[in-house]
């Protein structure tokens, strides 16, 4: 219990400092806000165009797809706000040997590398995602509290799985010097999560659920709100998330043991 309180204090201190650092550059913050709005619009654009000529895609209506899109934008907000800034930072710290200074703190190093940087402008993506979800909710019949509960309950395992995927990507930078391209590849695959999984061939659905688990946090909650799957979706998502968390933690500890620092 004491440890949890301390962990929360550490995370709060890290986020506070990360936020202060990001707000030092006012112009960047404003520019990122504009870019955030553009990103959200660009994400919605293709769906709007598609549904202006069709009523349904694989049984999914425009408001159904908007649910997926809304969850996708929320995921993007969390990734660009909390995850991606730290990815760049850690990769550089490993390369330069500055990770040394983080490893000397009496706090789990994984926690330190995960919350050092914050991109506050991601709040615009988050608001965009919530707006799209609100629109979809307005257009659709009420899904019922049970479905809403399952959808909300799917967010933690989905986020945990995506965070773990990110951590696995970081672990590769302990062994390879250039992993920047991995970020772009991951970003491109995660983009596929903006559409319902049902539009993809079966093999790709498996990949987007169990390998790059973006489906867990986009299509899964949307399906729950459509009244599909129910609790079994949540059980499946939890199973996949637990697997990812265990694998990424093991990879992180193994990578730390192999860390060679850099010359003085």
């Amino acid at each position: 219990m004491l440890d949890l309180a301390r962990t929360l204090r550490v995370v709060a201190a890290l986020l506070r400092v990360g936020l202060s650092a990001a707000l030092q550059y006012r112009a960047d913050f404003l520019l990122d806000a504009v870019l955030g709005v553009l990103r959200a619009s660009a994400a919605v654009g293709p769906t709007v165009v598609l549904f202006s000529v069709r009523e349904q895609v694989a049984g999914w209506t425009a408001p159904d797809v908007a649910l997926v899109l809304g969850f996708y934008l929320i995921l993007q907000a969390l990734m660009s706000g909390l995850v991606e800034p730290n990815l760049g930072e850690v990769v550089e710290a490993i390369r330069s040997g500055n990770l040394d200074l983080l490893l000397l703190k009496p706090v789990d190093a994984q926690l330190l590398v995960s919350f050092r940087r914050v991109q506050p402008a991601a709040i615009w993506d988050l608001l965009g995602g919530l707006a799209v979800l609100a629109w979809a909710g307005w257009q659709r019949p009420s899904p019922g509290w049970g479905a809403i509960l399952v959808a909300v309950g799917l967010l933690p395992p989905g986020l945990a799985a995506m965070y773990s995927l990110w951590l696995l990507a970081i672990c590769t930078s302990f062994f390879f010097v250039r992993v920047d391209n991995l970020r772009y590849v991951l970003g491109a695959v995660v983009d596929a999560g903006r559409n319902p999984l049902v539009v993809y061939p079966p093999w790709m659905r498996v990949i987007l659920t169990a390998v790059i688990p973006v489906g867990l946090i986009t299509t899964f909650p949307a399906s729950a709100l459509r009244g599909e799957g129910g609790l079994s979706l949540w059980v499946l998502a939890m199973g996949i998330a637990v697997g990812f968390v265990i694998a990424s933690r093991a990879a992180w500890l193994r990578s730390l043991a192999a860390y060679t620092s850099s010359g003085s």
């Binding site: 204090r9 709060a12 400092v17 200074l101 000397l104 330190l112 003085s264």
Partner: protein
């Protein structure tokens, strides 16, 4: 406080001949070489000691320091620091030590140093009262007043290093590992850092382990010297013993009137000044003789420069003459 037994670190580094073809070939047929960065190092450092690791680039000083701080896992051998095995990186161990690296910084670049201090307070779980007391003390000792509210990127190198020291000592560690702490600093900054480290050791009784290329740093901060070369300890004793062992003696210099001849005392005249180097046990007798022959002479007795002594020590170590 610090014990090592046959501490060894072996790196595996890729080797490749120059040229495009060897680059292509190394894609599927990479050759490796083992480098023994630290080779069976045995050390015993007591609480409160100030010890300097000295050696040329690539000697193994920093690798040893990184194993003692738990950043690197030893290939073989054992080490304990304050009763802990560093590689296990237990929280109590990390609370007990600190590492300051002259070439790396923990200060948050875009924010005032006070933000880093506040973050470290949370990370090291220092209570508010202890934090306020330590901060007050460090601000006074390191003369930090006046620039704590400026972004770190706007500080001079000397100001940054003083803030680095404060950030590293907020949790009152019992063991200080300092890796080239004065590198790049100007004269005033260097003196300030050296004075602070000595004072900190005297006030708190903390153990200080320093690596440096700067002989003056070593002479000013430590009282025990560990000479490392090619991963092996070549010499481990007090600074005085080091001078006695490898110094050619003490340098006697005398300014006297033109009519006085000190050739008979064993001194030689160069540009109007008589000088001579003698073993420590002889120098007092020679000095007395100079003063007998020229009572008004201006005489100095000094140690030879430490750089000279060090060069001699490494020469002796490599030819197998070191003790």
């Amino acid at each position: 406080m610090i014990r090592t037994e046959d501490l060894t670190k072996v790196y595996r580094v890729p080797i490749r001949e120059p040229g495009l073809w060897s680059s292509v070939r190394s894609l599927w047929n990479r050759k490796w070489r083992e480098v023994r960065a630290v080779d069976r190092v045995c050390l015993r450092i007591e609480e409160g000691e100030r010890v300097g690791f000295l050696g040329p680039n690539g000697a193994g000083k920093t690798t040893t320091l990184k194993m003692l701080t738990g950043l690197l896992h030893p290939t073989s051998g054992r080490c304990t620091v304050a009763g802990f095995q560093p590689a296990a990186r237990e929280r109590a161990f990390l609370q007990a030590i600190t590492l300051v690296m002259g070439q790396k910084q923990q200060l948050l670049w875009d924010l005032p140093a006070s933000e880093t201090f506040a973050l470290n307070r949370a990370l090291f779980d220092v209570n508010r009262q202890a934090f306020a007391e330590t901060m007050e003390e460090l601000v006074a000792l390191l003369d930090l007043e006046g620039f704590l509210d400026q972004p770190v990127r706007n500080l001079s190198l000397g100001q940054r290093m003083r803030c680095e020291l404060a950030a590293a000592l907020l949790h009152r560690p019992r063991v200080l590992f300092l890796d080239e702490p004065t590198i790049g600093l100007d004269v005033e900054g260097t003196l300030q850092v050296r004075r602070f480290i000595r004072d900190y050791n005297a006030r708190t009784g903390a153990t200080v382990v320093l690596t440096s290329h700067d002989m003056q740093d070593v002479a000013a901060i430590v009282d025990r010297l560990v000479l490392i070369d090619r991963g092996v300890i070549r010499f481990d004793a007090s600074l005085e013993q080091f001078r006695r062992e490898f110094g050619t003696g003490r340098l006697l210099t005398a300014r006297v009137g033109d009519e006085v001849d000190l050739g008979g005392v064993g001194l030689a005249r160069e540009r109007g000044i008589w000088t001579g180097t003698f073993p420590a046990e002889e120098v007092n007798g020679r000095l007395a003789e100079v003063l007998r022959r020229a009572p008004g002479a201006e005489v100095t007795v000094a140690d030879p420069p430490l750089e000279e002594v060090l060069a001699r020590a490494f020469g002796a170590a490599r030819s197998g003459r070191a003790p």
